[in-house]
Amino acid sequence: MFDVAVIGAGVVGGLVARALVKNGMRVVILEKESDVALGATRANSAIVHAGYDAKEGSLKAKLNVRGSEMMESVCAELGVKYKRCGSMVVGFSEEDRETLAALLKRGESNGVRGLKLLSGEEARKIEKNLGDGVSCALHAPTGAIVCPYELCMAAVGNAIDNGAELRLEFKVDKIERANGGFIIGAADKSVSARYVVNCAGLYSDEVARLAGDDGFTVRARRGEYILLDKECGDHVGSTIFRCPSKMGKGVLVTPTVDGNLLIGPTAEDIDDKTDLSTTAAGQARVRALASEQVKGINFGKTITNFTGLRAGGSTGDFIINVTEDGFVNAAGIESPGLSASPAIAEYVCELLSGVGAPLKEREDFVPTRRPMHYFKELTQEEKNEIIKEHPEYARVICRCELVTEGEIIEAIRTEPRPVTVDGIKRRTRATMGRCQGGFCTPYIVEILSRERGIDYLDVTKSGGKSFLNISRTKEKLWKNNENANNSLHNKAKTVKNADGGNA
C-alpha cells in the first residue's frame, strides 16, 4: 500500500507529489494521459503573478503570494528556467487609473512588494512599445515567468528520483474506501493508498464525486494563444496585462523563458473539457486586443497558435480541503494556480498532517535535478569533452532549436520518460522552433522507436491514436517478408550498366 496516491500529473500534482516524497511518504502518481503535464499545465500563460489580482483573504491571494515567493528557489532546485521580468498592468482611461489604484491597494494588503503606479509616459520609459492609448500603468517588479510544463516534468522527475512511482494511462474510474485507506481503480488496474490527493485539474470534480464529494464542479475555460518567433521575444521586456474593465480582462503580451513572445488568452467557458481547438474569431480577438496594449507586434512571425483549458472551480476560489479519512481536494486551480503551485503543495502537506499523516522531512531527500537544458549552458570546452565520449551530442537533430541526438536520447532516458514526439518536444524543444518539426520529425520518430523499442509505425505525436504514419510503402513486401523476398528476388534481374536514359 502506498502512503499517498496523487491523482493527476500536472504542475500541482507534480509539486504535491514531490513535497510528499520529501516528507517521507511513499507516493504513487496516477495520470490518465501518456505523459505528464498534458492538462491545463501544457498550455497557459506561464506567468508567476505578483499577487495583486486575487481578493484579499482568499486562498488564491494567500497561496499566490506565498507561491510566488517560493517559486524562484523551487525552480533553482529543479533546474527550471525562471525569470523575474516584472509585469505591468496598462490602462487607457481615468476609470482604468482608479482600477489600477485599487489593484495597488489590494496588492499591498496581500503583501506584494514594490508595486508602483506609473503615468503612460513613465511606463513607456520601461516598455517602449506600449500602445499609444496607454495612459497609466501598475508596475509589479516581482512578476515573473516560468515554463509550466518544464516545472511539472522536473517536479515529477524529482519525485520519481526520490522514490515516487508514476503510472501513466491510468484513468481513475473508481475510488473505494477499504482497510483504512483507499483503493483507486482504472479499468482493470488498481492501486491502494492510505491517503489520496485529487489534483485532477479539469476533472477534479469528477474524481471528487468518485470519492463521494459532489460539493463543487469544474468548468473548462478556453484560452487561445499565439506564439511568435524568437526574433520577436524582446518586443516587450515584461509581462503586459490590460487593466480589467467593463470591456473585459484583455490579453497579456509576454516574453517566455525560452525567448519567444506569447500573446493571449481569450476566456470562454465551454462544456467540452477536451476541446483544444482554436477559432478564427478567438485568434482575431487576441490580435486585436494585444495590438491596443502593445504596438508593432509582427504577427507575420507567428510560429504557432494553440488553446489551453483552465479549470475554473464553481466557488470562485481554489477548492483545497481534506476529509477526516484523508481524501484531499486540490481543485479549481485556475489562475493564479501556476504561481501558487509550490504553496499549494505545502498547504496540502499541512492538511494531511492535520488528519494524522506522519509527514516528516527526509534527510536523504535530494531536492535538486539537473536542468533539462544543461547541455546548452556548457562552455565550448565542456561540450567538447562530452562529445568526445558521446559523439551523438554533436549530431544536430532539430536545427531551429539546435537540439542534438544526445540531448534527445538523454531526455528519453530521464524520468518521467517520454514516449511521444510531443513528449520529446516539451523536454528538449526539438520541433518547437521556426520550422515546427518540418525537418526533424522523422529523425525523432527513429530515435524514439530505437530507444523505446517500439515500431516506427507505432510512434505517436501525443499518445492515443495520434499515429504519425499509417503504413509502410511497398506494404506487400513487408507483409510477406520471407516469401516475398524469395520469389521477388528472382524477378529482380539486374542488368549492369544498362542505358539509364542518361545518354
Binding site: K474, A484, H489, T494, V495
Partner: protein
C-alpha cells in the same frame, strides 16, 4: 475541334491549342519548340508518362528509381505495382536496371541514386 493542353516536356509549360479533326491532330499553336508538337501528337494518340519511385533493396533500404523512358500512361499504376514488388540487390548504382523491359514496354526501371 480545339483542345487546350499544357506541355509537360520542360518547365516552361507552354499553353498549347490543338486543332483536331476526327481525333486526328491537324496543327498546334502556342508551343515554343518542336518538342511541344511531338508531345501533342502523343497525347492525341498514345499518351506517355515517366514514372519515378523507390524500390526496396535486399538490405531493407530504399533506392530511388525511374523508368528510363516514358511508358504508356495507362500502365503507370501497373508499373508502380511492379516497382513495389521488386527487391533490388544491394550495391546498384545510377543507371543500373532494377527491372528490365517493364510490362513489355521495352523500357527499363533504372536506379537514379544511392540507397538510403
Amino acid at each position: 475541334m480545339e483542345r487546350k493542353l499544357t506541355c509537360i516536356i520542360c518547365p516552361r509549360g507552354c499553353d498549347m491549342t490543338l486543332y483536331l479533326d476526327d481525333g486526328k491532330l491537324i496543327s498546334v499553336d502556342g508551343n515554343a519548340c518542336p518538342r511541344g508538337k511531338t508531345y501533342a501528337e502523343d497525347e492525341c494518340t498514345h499518351p506517355k508518362r515517366s514514372v519515378t519511385s523507390t524500390v526496396r533493396t535486399e538490405s531493407g533500404r530504399l533506392q530511388p528509381v525511374k523508368t528510363s523512358a516514358a511508358i504508356p500512361k495507362e500502365l503507370v499504376f501497373a508499373c508502380m505495382d511492379e516497382i513495389n514488388s521488386v527487391v533490388a540487390p544491394d550495391g546498384l548504382s545510377i543507371g543500373d536496371a532494377v527491372i528490365s523491359d517493364v510490362l513489355g514496354t521495352g523500357v527499363d526501371v533504372v536506379v537514379t541514386g544511392k540507397a538510403i
